[in-house]
Amino acid sequence: MKGVNRAQASWMKGERLFATALVAPGVIALLVTTTAPLVYLLWTSLHAANLSMPWVKGFVGLDHYVHMLGDGRFWDSLRLTAIYTVTTVVLQVLIGLGLALLVLQIPHGQWLFRLVAILPIVLAPVVVGLFWRTLMLSPSFGLFDIFTTQVFGRSYNWLGDPTLALISVILIHTWQWTAFAFLVLLAGLASIAPDLYEAARIDRAGAFARFRYITLPLIRPAIMIVIIMRAVVALSAFAAIYAATGGGPGTATQILNLYAYQTSFVALDFGYGSAQAVALLILTLAVSAALFRLRRPKGWA
């Protein structure tokens, strides 16, 4: 098989040098700020590093990991992570898509919806968490409680009951980030050529058929991207949950992210906490890889 079989032209060599020079600062910065700490994380996970018991130190190999696998709380947090991630992503996509489909029919008011949708996205998650904790969900004075006592005659302990607390944090996360799915899917829907729908109408396809055979397949790539991006964010969600429930009551909303945080910065067991963080990292990479493969079944396009 013949290819370019002559030596590199001298001006092309200059280009390579230039490219390397441009990229070098970025790569070095990344290596220093990201990869180095990661390596340190791995290293820490193999050592005993409990600041509340500073006399205990040294290499412990995979002890932390073994302990983790036997730790009930770890598996619990994993379960919570799974529930949290799947539920929030599914809700975001469903509501976001539904809203986008609705708003698409109102070409004149779309700008207003887009404007309002930007609001939750730009807020700091910690602020969102605090708002919901106080204004919406707190007992007696929160709006939810006032609503339920007036309408249903009973009070729900949104933040104190384990199940309700999980529902609450899911609700909060969904409230903030559905707008993202909405905006992306709205843009995706708008990019479908209207001719396709007109042709389908002429072919006597009803609204549902048009949705199923034209809209869904064409918007599938956008949906996949939204799923991947939101899943990664959900796996590492921190501020809103921290602000709203702090991981509680007890450990009812302590997803793996928060458990690792608690182990490290509250219990001060950095060794074990690092191992948990590594586990979360592996989980995130695995989920992303799996989702990417789903998106492009033939591999990297």
Partner: protein, 364 residues
């Protein structure tokens, strides 16, 4: 730094991965010549232009400008100018800044810029648009801006990649004439890529015809018109193109179907099937000759093209004025015996026929 503007491609080849885009190309372009690279899409003509420009490097062979080997030089070092099919104007710069850009990059002092820019713009008649942005110009004006940017530097070589294909038909024909005149004024070697044979025939001093990654014929337009080297070229050049008809040759006679076509030449070789090519203008209606049925007439104003069915084949005949025939009418036609071309059916190669001298003078 201006040489004569002679360009030579020496055994140039180009591969992309394992796929051949250009098989061995040998080409010589003379100074100040208007040279066209003509061919259908994918034939290798644009690849050749890009190799000459230095935007790609050849997989094998050399490229020489005025006997200087430039194969390893970048595009900026070759002292060339190029007009892209999409014009590639810098959208964030005004017309004046676009035209001035190559001068600035060459280090021309600022005070000289304005007059040079105005000069180039005036030549292509856009000097009243200097402060506009490309997005505010019409297609034709954008094209002229690209031209101005190319000529302002007085380059050694002027390359054009299908510059007229984005214009509407009428504008295309008008701009064609202006381009030819511009090239004469500037006196610079010009290499012009196009798939439109009419463009190449009217503009170029010489044409290289590309098919499937190689050059099948090089020559002046008249020569190509008179003696196409292959069947493919015959079917490509001319509007409308030559008619290609299956025939049988036997020594001095050519037979289409059952009719003998008079041909003032001897056909060498054994009796065999050939392809007969004849221009629509060289066919005329006659009382005797090849039986044909009128299929459809196209009235073009000063001339008309009569589409005929001869056996199973469609043949076009040109007549002046309107069509004297009705659709479906049975007529007879004859081909001008001095103006027949014969080709091998499989290879497409031209069959050289020896004209019989005394016959030629008595052609009607």
């Amino acid at each position: 730094m201006k040489g004569l503007g002679r360009v030579r491609l020496d055994r140039v080849e180009k591969y992309y991965g394992g796929v051949s885009a250009l098989k061995t190309v040998d080409l010589e372009i003379r100074p100040n010549e208007f040279f066209a690279l003509l061919g259908p899409s994918g034939s290798g003509k644009t690849t050749t232009l890009r190799l000459i420009a230095g935007l790609e490097t050849p997989s094998a062979g050399r490229i020489l400008f005025d006997n200087l080997d430039v194969t390893d030089s970048g595009p900026g070092e070759r002292d060339i100018a190029m007009v892209f099919q999409s014009y590639a104007l810098y959208p964030h710069m005004t017309v004046a800044e676009n035209i001035a850009f190559p001068l600035r990059m060459s280090g021309v002092p600022r005070r000289e810029l304005a007059s040079l820019v105005r000069g180039a713009a005036a030549r292509v008649r856009i000097d009243h648009l200097l402060d506009r942005r490309p997005s505010q110009l019409s297609g034709g004006q954008q094209q002229r801006c690209a031209l101005a940017r190319a000529i302002v530097r007085k380059p050694r070589l002027f390359l054009l990649d299908e510059p007229l294909s984005n214009l509407d038909a009428k504008l295309r024909v008008e701009t064609r004439v202006e381009l030819k005149s511009l090239q004469h004024q500037l006196d610079v070697t010009t290499i012009y890529v196009t798939h439109d044979q009419e463009e190449a025939m009217t503009l170029a001093d010489r044409i290289a015809i590309f098919m499937d990654g190689e050059i099948v014929q090089v020559g002046a337009p008249a020569a190509i018109f008179e003696r196409p080297a292959t069947l493919a070229v015959a079917g490509f050049i001319g509007s409308p193109a030559m008619n290609l008809v299956r025939a049988h040759a036997d020594g001095g006679a050519v037979r289409v179907g059952d009719t003998i076509i008079p041909c003032h030449a001897r056909i060498p070789g054994p009796p065999r099937d050939v392809m007969l090519a004849v221009r629509p203008g060289d066919i005329a209606a006659d009382k005797q000759g090849l039986p044909a049925q009128v299929y459809v007439s196209e009235l073009l104003g000063e001339t008309s093209i009569i589409n005929l069915k001869i056996g199973a084949e469609l043949v076009k005949m040109r007549v002046s004025g309107g069509s004297p025939f009705r659709d479906g009418e049975q007529i007879h036609v004859r081909f001008d015996p001095d103006r027949l071309h014969l080709f091998e059916p499989e290879s497409g190669k031209r069959i050289e026929i020896e004209a019989e001298p005394k016959m030629r003078r008595s052609a009607p």
